[in-house]
């Protein structure tokens, strides 16, 4: 029982994004009972759920990077879409200049674009970590100038990426029933999990985000860690750019990943992460990213006028953020305590400390039972 409660405590920050997700899915089910229906067309699975996973690929990858930057630098990178546009422009140019396109050309192009992403991350990271520029101001530079750079690299309007391998990466590989971007996203998430398991990234980033001064006195260099998170963000942008450009089949430097940083920041917030840095949950951000995709598609499905979708989304987000705010949470907790008093004639939550004491007491008694 105690262990279950502990597990639940560790998951408590996921309650909000998960419940929003569930509410949205229920709305969709009411709209049409066949919402979860998945059909097999030409050996590939299609349906609402695969579409959501497919559509959210870039956002999920970017929100992972955004989570790390937010946690360590206590601010957000608003140039991620532009950064993705630049690195994918380089990828496209490399592939187009290669002549015959093999899987190796694509792989080399991908690695080069990742390197470009790292260079961009290093630029932003240097400004933030070593010159103490506020993250949003530092990344504003590339947010404003990034698409022009991508346009210059393109050389002409929207170069077309017409080769079978790119097409397969953007859609499906014959014989595999799941669309490729979904697989790539899953692989990326797995990689992140491995990195978090085999390094101290989490501990270092959280320590720096919560208390840089104390982190420094324990031998961590806060500047290096903040710089590192921007490098990781750069890689995330490059991977997202790679997926996006292969999906579309051409490099549109104006519209590729446009305004995606807003959704990425929202995904981080929705995932229960503080935008002021510190402890972070990548699981939360990933769920947040998928929730945003579901929200977008739900509004479309409800036949909201495409022009009005942004307004609906804004209203929805306002409601969400108010519910998630500490003020509402505190009063909700009071209400719950009042309810408990009403039912048991005893108030466990007069003060937070008392509440904790009771929890720990029940915890320890439960342990004894074990």
């Amino acid at each position: 029982m105690a262990r279950l409660k502990k597990q639940f405590d560790r998951m408590s920050h996921l309650v909000l994004p998960l419940s929003v997700l569930v509410v949205l899915l229920i709305i969709n089910l009411i709209k049409g009972a066949d919402y979860f229906k998945i059909t097999l067309i030409n050996g590939v699975l299609y349906g609402n759920i695969p579409n959501i996973l497919f559509g959210a690929s870039e956002l999920v990858i970017l929100s992972i990077g955004m989570t790390l930057v937010t946690a360590a630098a206590r601010g957000q990178d608003i140039s991620i879409g532009e950064s993705g546009a630049i690195s994918s422009a380089i990828f496209v140019q490399y592939v187009l200049s290669a002549g015959e396109v093999t899987i190796w050309t694509i792989l080399a192009g991908f690695l080069i674009s990742c390197a470009a992403g790292i260079v961009i991350g290093a630029f932003n990271g240097t400004l933030v970590a070593f010159f103490n520029v506020q993250p949003m101001v530092a990344t504003l530079i590339l947010f404003l100038g990034g698409r022009s750079i991508a346009f210059i690299i393109d050389g002409k309007v929207s170069p077309i990426l017409a080769n079978p391998i790119s097409n397969q990466i953007g859609t499906v590989i014959p014989g595999i029933p799941i669309q490729t971007p979904i697989i790539l996203t899953a692989v990326f998430i797995a990689l992140v999990v491995v990195v978090l398991k085999t390094t101290n990234l989490r501990l270092y980033v959280e320590a720096v985000g919560v208390n840089p001064s104390a982190a420094r006195l324990n031998g961590i260099n806060p500047r290096k860690i903040i710089f590192l998170t921007f490098l990781i963000m750069g890689v995330c942008s490059a991977v997202a750019g790679f997926i996006a450009v292969n999906k579309v089949g051409r490099h549109d430097s104006v519209n590729l990943l446009k305004f995606i940083m807003m959704d990425a920041i929202l995904a981080v917030a929705l995932g229960g992460n503080s935008l002021a840095g510190g402890k972070f949950s990548i699981t939360g951000s990933i769920i947040g990213a998928y929730t945003i995709e579901v929200l977008n598609r739900t509004l479309l499905r409800l036949e909201v006028n495409p022009e009005a979708i942004k307004t609906f989304k804004a209203v929805f987000i306002i409601i969400l953020m108010v519910i998630a705010s500490p003020v509402v949470r505190a009063s909700a907790r009071k209400l719950i305590d009042k309810g408990k008093t009403f039912f048991t004639g005893y108030s466990p939550g007069q003060t937070g400390a008392l509440n904790k004491a009771v929890v720990s007491m029940t915890d320890s008694s439960a342990k004894k039972e074990e």
């Binding site: 101290n200 919560v210 104390a214 402890k279 904790k356 720990s360």
Partner: protein, 500 residues
């Protein structure tokens, strides 16, 4: 002729939950005098000031301003009655001009007459001899001038009483002199100045009268020229004068032939400590003694490279090493428990477990994380060893009591098995029981061969734990005491006489 009394506080009492902060304190301020308010940490100085300025409400007692009883319900009210306050951190807006800073928020009009404002500011600045132009941006002035502008702002509000709370702590000698000139100018105009500082020499340089508080009680009010330094220090520390003045013959410091665990020569740091030498042997517990602000913390921070090291060399076990960052120091087997637990010690949102393993984890390196099981084992081991009371290892450290937080930080460093551990105020703000536990632990660790430096503002505690004391005053070492010389009298004597 006795100057007219402008402020009289009688029988002021103030309690906070569990603490009697002020117990029947009287305080009298006369027109045209500089009155130093002295006391160690927790003596009640700031509580008294906060009651006077309306930040806190007194529990009982009476305040008379120019003979009339007054009761301030807010700082604004006190200000309107002519009580100006300038705090240690300058509460001005650096991006506004000097004149704007002097007049901001003081006019009820929606519109500002810029020309008139600048003209009045010019008059004020020149009459007080402050070297600044009204249209200059505040940030372009030196800290001392900013401090003076804050004073000018306070004085201009028809100020009868000016409170200066640690105004000189961030000033150099030259700037301090300028500030004192301004204080004397105001004094000549009949302003009563309450001056709070921890620099004893400055008190003697500028003040006319001294009131000493200790543990919330009034110890006495004296004419500055009638109170010798040593007597003042004994009053602040709470030791009888007879003990203090009894002198003992000094013995030569014991020589030790073994190679010291750590030896520093001419060490200095960006935090402003004068170059100093330092040696510690295996199993030795020594300490830096001195009043607050004497540079005792800055010295140990220099050893750990917590502040930027600007000079000097360090030998560990006789071998020269480079210590430029805290990580370098940690790799040499040095641990450091900082003075400011909240800002430099705990990572408040992280769990007790993460806080315990942090230093060890950093020493192991980025790519070698402890497994969760290992981390839990280590944390549990030290939780039992130091008797840390926490609901669970996953509890964020911020919800623990101060004493338990401190034990977690201790556990963090003990887990790295340091050969030299620096403890800066490890017992501050924690309950008596835990204090004694920590003292015992220090002695036990030393017996096991660890070298420790122990700093505390409570001299009794240092004498109980340390076998050698390095005495500091005004950011300089003024002497060293060990063996039979190690007495309170000698420490106080040394602080009083040192640097002269």
């Amino acid at each position: 002729m006795q100057p007219e009394i402008i402020l009289k506080m009688e029988g002021i009492c103030k309690s906070f939950p569990g603490v009697r902060a002020l117990d029947n304190v009287d305080f009298v301020l006369r027109r045209g005098e500089i009155h130093a308010l002295m006391g160690e940490n927790g003596a009640g100085k700031s509580t008294l000031i906060k009651i006077l300025t309306g930040v806190y409400q007194k529990d009982s007692g009476q305040i008379y301003l120019e003979g009339r009883p007054v009761h301030f319900k807010s700082p604004q009210e006190a200000q309107n009655m002519g009580i100006g306050t300038v705090f240690q951190e300058i509460a001005l807006c650096p991006n506004l001009t000097v004149a704007e800073n002097m007049f901001i928020g003081r006019s009820r009009d929606a519109f500002v007459n810029w020309k008139q404002m600048n003209k009045r500011a010019t008059e004020m600045l020149s009459s007080l001899g402050i070297p600044a132009s009204p249209t200059q941006e505040l940030a372009s002035c030196s800290i001392a001038v900013q401090q003076m502008i804050a004073i000018a702002r306070a004085v201009d509000m028809d100020c009868k009483i000016l409170i200066l709370d640690e105004p000189t702590s961030s000033l150099d000698e030259d700037e301090t002199r300028k500030l004192f000139a301004l204080m004397r100018e105001l004094k000549a105009r009949g302003v009563g100045i309450i001056f709070i500082t921890h620099f004893i020499d400055q008190v003697y340089e500028v003040s006319d009268r001294i009131t000493v508080l200790r543990n919330g009680k009034l110890i006495g009010e004296h004419q500055t020229d009638e109170l010798p330094q040593i007597e003042l220090i004994s009053k602040m520390m709470g030791k009888a004068l007879s003990d203090v003045s009894a002198l003992k013959k000094s013995e030569p410091p014991q020589s030790d032939d073994s190679v010291p665990v750590l030896q520093a020569g001419g060490l200095s740091s960006a935090a402003g400590v004068r170059p100093f030498d330092f040696t510690i042997h295996k199993g030795e517990v020594n300490g830096f003694a001195g009043l607050l602000g004497s540079g005792r913390s800055e010295s140990v921070r220099a050893i750990f490279a917590a502040d930027k090291v600007t000079g000097g060399e360090v030998k560990v076990n006789g071998k020269r090493v480079k210590i430029r960052t805290p990580l370098d120091a940690m790799k040499q087997g040095i641990g450091y428990l900082p003075e400011d637990r909240k800002n430099d010690g705990i990572i408040d949102e992280l769990s007790v477990r993460d806080n315990i393993i942090l230093a060890l984890q950093v020493l192991k390196g980025f790519f070698r994380p402890l497994s969760r099981k290992q981390a839990e084992e280590f944390a549990n081991q030290y939780m039992q060893l130091l008797d840390i009371k926490t609901p669970s290892l996953d509890t964020p450290i911020k919800s623990l009591s101060g004493g338990n937080q401190q034990k977690v930080i201790l556990a963090r460093w003990l887990l790295t098995h340091p050969m030299y551990l620096i403890l800066d105020e490890p017992t501050r703000g924690i309950d008596v029981g835990t204090k004694v536990e920590i003292q015992k632990l220090v002695l036990k660790l030393a017996a096991e061969g660890m070298s420790l430096t122990f700093i505390s503002s409570e001299i009794d505690e240092m004498l109980r734990v340390c076998s050698r004391l390095i005495v500091m005053k005004d950011r300089e070492i003024v002497g060293e005491l060990s063996g039979a010389d190690l007495t309170e009298q000698n420490v106080m004597q040394m602080i009083a006489q040192g640097g002269e």
